[in-house]
Amino acid sequence: MREPRWLPWARWIVLGSLSLFTLLPLYVMATTSIKPLGDVQGDFHWIPTTISLQPFADIWRTVPLAHYFANSLIVASIAAVASVTIAIFAAYAISRYRFPGRKVFSVTVLSTQMFPGILFLLPLFMIFVNLGNTIGVELYGSRTGLIITYLTFSLPFSIWMLVGYFDSIPTALDEAAQVDGSGPVGALLRVVIPAAMPGIVAVTIYAFMTAWAEVLFASVMTDESTRTLAVGLQGYSTQNDVYWNQLMAASLVVSVPVVAGFLLLQRYLVQGLTAGAVK
């Protein structure tokens, strides 16, 4: 492409400003997490007066962070694996079969993704509470309730992305497997899944991130023993004071698993996230 002479300047001004905008909170998060408490109570300092790793030790004592961490880990892992497992079967059906109701199913599933969460919150809350009261299945406040809810949140997008991946695998491959005597499900397990592995890993990370970051349902559907990080971090602000250095240290710690996963698998995730939208 022929570029006018001002374009490199425009590029660096625009992209530079966007980088600053993006970096500023990341810088604040990182530097505040190594400040002593005195530094975060008065006027803002760009550079910590003393570097202290104390906040990273304190965060585990101020609130039961390890407990919330474990809750988030359990809920997000199980929800992600279950969601992707279910999505693999559904995506295989949509990608490989033409059956009546296929279109209706795809559109319905995808459109539920777009409905406001608040629409499901009140009825689900009522259903969970009343199930506990009438038949003794305690979903309200339990990890199981949260897992089931979260796995349906990532399900539509997982199916959508996996259909894109499966479509890109030649059907000749699973036909060959079927000639060898595997049934359709055998072909899925032995040929399609291994071939789509990068996509499946990317979708699993996406589902994990969705559950890890969810706030609305976590704030209503959990109690003290099942609280996840999304709600638990509020514990650093007390009536009188907010431990900003600890809050930033804790934010950093809880972000590391998902950001690392995202950046490592960035290429696959970007492919998957965009495949559907571009088509």
Partner: protein, 339 residues
Amino acid sequence: MVASTTPRPGARRGSGSPEGGPPRSGGRGPGRVAALIPVRLRRLGLPYLLILPAIVLELLIHVVPMLVGMWMSFLKLTQFFVRNWSAAPSAGLANYEIAVDFDSAVGSSLLRSFVVTVAFTVLAVGLCWLLGTAAAVLMQGSFRGRGVLRTLFLTPYALPAYAGVITWSFMFQRDSGLVNHILVEQSGLLDERPFWLIGGNSFVALLVTYVWRVWPFAFLVLMAGVQNISDDLYEASAIDGAGWWRQLRSITLPMLRPVNQVVVLVLFLWTFNDFNTPYVLFGKSAPEEADLISIHIYQSSFVTWNFGSGSAMSVLLLLFLLLVTAVYLVATSRRRTRA
């Protein structure tokens, strides 16, 4: 629970044939049982069996609650009936009448929240789209540092929403925040330290935080869209003497139209329903000026424990979103076919 049991037959079939075994033995065991069912019927039933777990879960967590929500909106579901809703008396249309009676306290605050949400959505979607497009277009082609920039831009999107938003809420603190430090101490643009998280400024704080978090999504999808445009088009137009602006207006933007159609719709729905940003930024009580509709319904439901009224507001919200989506899809598709 249903979810964990249904996919098992398939998984068992797979584990029944270890990799070392002859490839043919895998399908034989279940095949013999299934042979009793005609092959055509099996072929027909299999896709439905495969999507069954997904359907069951969608029904349980999305469709049934939605229907229950609609039913709840016609009930007098106050705090006395939360644990025993079968005893809740019918309210008829009363919940809706209160919600749209703009002279009442409930109705007028809902209307105000709706107006705030519309203004917020228009500005936020516009800004996210603009920043995303600018970055995607300027990052077309290859230059040094492109990969690093892309990773940097995507980081806010990868960060859990609460971690990023909490950081912004620290930056917006009146006395210890970075924003006032720059505006008052360092640049002297302002004499007084303004409040950012209460009063009129809270709308700006919410907008900045939200755009920071969500514009990378627009960038991500638009960047992929830009990469999918064939180089031939640019080369051919360059031979015809088209400059950079001309190419942007006549090739890049028109070719992005299908992507834009999806991106703007998804951004609109996400933004209009956003709960996380105001909830984490302001805590449980959002200031009036930044009282987005989701958090408004949440607060009015869980503060008053009037779930009937909250459900009616949710249903109204759903109807509005469906209407806008339908109009949008019809309008953008018609323009596309005409073009």
